[in-house]
Symmetry: C2
Subunit: 331 residues, 2 copies
Amino acid sequence: MDQSFGALARTLKAQQAEALDAVGDVIVDHLSSSVPLIPEVARHLIGAGGKRLRPLMTLSAASLCGYEGEGHLQLAAAVELIHAATLLHDDVVDDSALRRGLRTANVVFGNKESVLVGDFLFARAFELMVKTGSLRVLDILSRASCTISEGEVLQLETQANPATSEEMYVEVVRAKTAALFSAATQSGAVIAAADPAQERALAEYGMNFGIAYQIVDDALDYEGTEDEIGKSVGDDFREGKMTLPLILALAQARNAEEKRFWHRVIAGGERTPDDFAQARRLIARDDLVGQSLAEAQRYAEAAADALSVLPPSPLRDTLEGLALSSFVRSA
Amino acid sequence: MDQSFGALARTLKAQQAEALDAVGDVIVDHLSSSVPLIPEVARHLIGAGGKRLRPLMTLSAASLCGYEGEGHLQLAAAVELIHAATLLHDDVVDDSALRRGLRTANVVFGNKESVLVGDFLFARAFELMVKTGSLRVLDILSRASCTISEGEVLQLETQANPATSEEMYVEVVRAKTAALFSAATQSGAVIAAADPAQERALAEYGMNFGIAYQIVDDALDYEGTEDEIGKSVGDDFREGKMTLPLILALAQARNAEEKRFWHRVIAGGERTPDDFAQARRLIARDDLVGQSLAEAQRYAEAAADALSVLPPSPLRDTLEGLALSSFVRSA
């Protein structure tokens, strides 16, 4: 049986197929607006697909905790809308041109439209959470939303900064990505009225899974092809984003010339395609993508371990497998 | 006694001085972040002052409804944070350079920083609302936040569009500005557990006051000086914003030449300082600012009327006076 990350993500989708469809309906309902451009921009992004990992986390957590109501559908939709809002703003902030294999909304519709529609989606997410009737869910997700923007600002500050440490990088990843995964799983537990130990375990799973997931995503920017990763290869490099392969490369440079190269391409404003090719060569030589994946493995294992307090089930197995396959290079 | 809008705004501040100070403390507490740039950007905007009209609306509404708790402080702070978030995003969307007499955050810190710190403030506002423990407050303000972004997108669509009608303009104003005033007053009533008639009256007051306020603000862009209005004069004109004086000018043009002028400067990408001077001349000749203020008057009077169901008090008088002075040109 195929135990790759992609295969397990599909298994998870299949295990939650009915609920996920219902979440899709909730989302479509809540994109409606008297201003037609809003659903148009939102559908461009949300309709482009994506793995729906975050809403799946919410649905799975609620399900693992024995939830039988329907509030998790609204909650999962809210989580996906928050994610979509951050993507719209991210692509403006990063000047990205490609996402999920399609031109980004900022390119198709404009930066201004992306900022405003992001705001709309964010507000709609909170409207949806109100409908769940749970103040704790609102508390968890409003805090996570704060943390996400803190992570984004911190990332902006580390950009093109050769002094960025591995700790700072993990801090950025924890805030900008893992906080939402953790809020997604924790709020799923909360809506299911899980006991505190289960709620904590699911929050832990989401946090550690999210960190692993982002480290892997960042590392593959130095190894994958455009087809594999669905976005322009080398985007992070061009923007001077201080992700783990770059931090390791600077720390492990073998001589003064290599050190100069890394300093120049990190701090310098211009990074040519030749620079990127050279960066990939050096990163491949020392297997820094592999070193990054090994770092991701620590978090992935912590995620899988956290699930042990939950009752065994096929769904728990899938979540565990998803974490443990996240850092494995696909064949 | 000075019954000008400015004087009455100061009276309102004085009547709510203690509460407003406490709101300031709540705001400062909630700007703190592990990422120092966030409070820096936020303070640049919020510290620049402003009339604090929106939090004053919340405090006043709660007070008029006999509220004696402290939740209105958090609520008023949340309202001001939502307002601040929209200002940060607005200034990015409008490429504004000056606000409240100071350089805008997007100019001082950058567009990316303004987008992300706006997101942070918005999320913090929801965190604060959760602390009030009132789901209805969260419902009202999340809906208002949706409406605000709808209004902003609609405004973007009417920009440089000579077909924009007065009705569309009022729709934009209602959504982008008045919805938050209305949510501010209504949620103040809700937290005070006001009866439905009082809650409705305060929502009405906020809505109509907000419409009048924005119509006046837009009209003065064709009459005031930079010192008077605290932002660059003619910004709306340069951006092709379809505000009431421009809509009236196009509708009331006296001959083909004037019509051509208006079409050219509205639809055309370039609007020179000479164009602005000519626009001001024509607008002054037909007193289109006066006509706009007369339109504002209708809403201001509806706002004042709405207050009649509330028990008489000096505070009610001030709110009534504030509405009724909003459309009067200062001497």
